[in-house]
Symmetry: C2
Subunit: 247 residues, 2 copies
């Protein structure tokens, strides 16, 4: 058995997890201070903090320096719908989320030149998006579009734009192809603080490149979500020109 030596930190994590999932501690509520919890469970602060780190990596609690540890609101998993495709019913039923959008113009550099296949220095419209679910942020995006393709209105009045926020979509036309690359990685310091996750908690990072029928790349998006708060769903339908042996 792997758990032959049940570590104190996991015992405590299990105990607190129980209290959270059974509702004995309500979402939004503050946990007792770490010093309290440590003395209650008769462990050192280091051990107690490791227990909390487990819960944080599971997305159950949120740490705020100087204020305390808080139970996150019920893990209503956000659904990211890949492929610019049809909307999942669950997405349509998404609760109201707030999205802040800030748009600027930047020059292509580094990775962006590769993704967008433009020379360095090309003017790009950059949209920095952060979405919130109530208080807690739950998504980050930087979307880059060649300057001449950016919808004019957006640059002036970004806040008026109401988009399918789980996708951070800005384009108004459907591209011919979308390639999305997904990986799990530790958050950058900026992401960790913005999303209120631990530097140990993974983010689900999605790099989305949309290409027009002409082959021109019309959008590159760098998205980051708290790994435990999102499911990215990709649906692929196969044309019937392939052999279909299922009766």
């Amino acid at each position: 058995m792997i758990r032959s030596v049940p570590s104190r930190q996991h015992d405590i994590a299990d105990d607190l997890r129980q209290q959270i999932t059974t509702g004995r501690i309500s979402p939004g509520e503050r946990l007792p201070s770490e010093a309290d919890l440590a003395s209650r469970h008769k462990v050192s602060t280091v051990t107690l903090r490791r227990a909390l780190a487990v819960l944080q990596s599971e997305g159950l609690i949120e740490k705020v320096q100087g204020r305390g540890n808080f139970v996150r609101h019920p893990v209503r998993k956000i659904v990211y719908v890949g492929g610019w495709g049809t909307l999942d019913p669950r997405t349509a039923a998404e609760p109201a989320l707030r999205v802040t959008v800030r748009s600027t113009t930047v020059q292509a550099h580094g990775q962006l030149t590769t993704l967008l296949k433009v020379p360095a220095g090309s003017p790009l419209a950059e949209f920095s998006c952060t979405s919130f679910e109530g208080e807690s942020p739950h998504g980050l995006a930087r979307i880059y579009i060649p300057r001449d393709l950016a919808p004019a209105g957006l640059l002036d009045n970004a806040s008026a734009y109401r988009a399918p926020i789980t996708r951070f979509a800005v384009l108004t036309v459907s591209p011919a192809a979308v390639r999305e690359t997904v990986c799990a990685r530790p958050p950058t310091p900026e992401e960790a603080s913005t999303l209120r996750i631990a530097s140990a908690a993974p983010v689900l990072a999605i790099t989305r490149v949309a290409t027009a029928a002409t082959g021109r790349v019309v959008e590159a998006a760098l998205l980051a979500f708290p790994g435990n708060r999102i499911d990215a769903v990709f649906t692929t339908h196969h044309m019937l020109d392939e052999r279909q042996t299922q009766g």
Copy 2:
């Protein structure tokens, strides 16, 4: 500035990361013992171990109890190709990987009944796959197929099966639709030990459900990869007017 107080653990992590990425410590090589490193950097063992945890969560090192900390082989990112689609050129160029496959018959239960849309207790063929890149494991899969759809030969002679291993494909026919759900989460204890990652290091978990044209679910696969060692790529083509021909 976020780094106003550059923590010792990050300084050390940065230093070691430098030595690893510049090749001053070779892949496969063992790092000095934690006690050594701690005294060299003049930090406590706890702090040094936190520094190593950072590198581990980045997939740079591998900890082996009783033996030491080892530099992982160059992060050759595995590419998981979603959607049962055409193979990415990079996938075709994948190095030889070893895959172990163990097949058994189980009865549908829990989540499986939902995924496969079969009643509890239905006979399923289960394929437990582990793939290795040299020494290090880099992927886990459990694939479930309704018993009557399982290729007969596989059940008897699984080892003979050589499949596109980055996809853990078992089906020999293309399904009509594939839905893949991706999330990042902490590994289960089993995954952590099999993949040799920390319990804090995220796995990229992919749940794949393949459906035939009839609507019958012909496969459910639960995949887990070390988050930092894989990119999952999903490509969606939109054929609004143009009938695409891949190629």
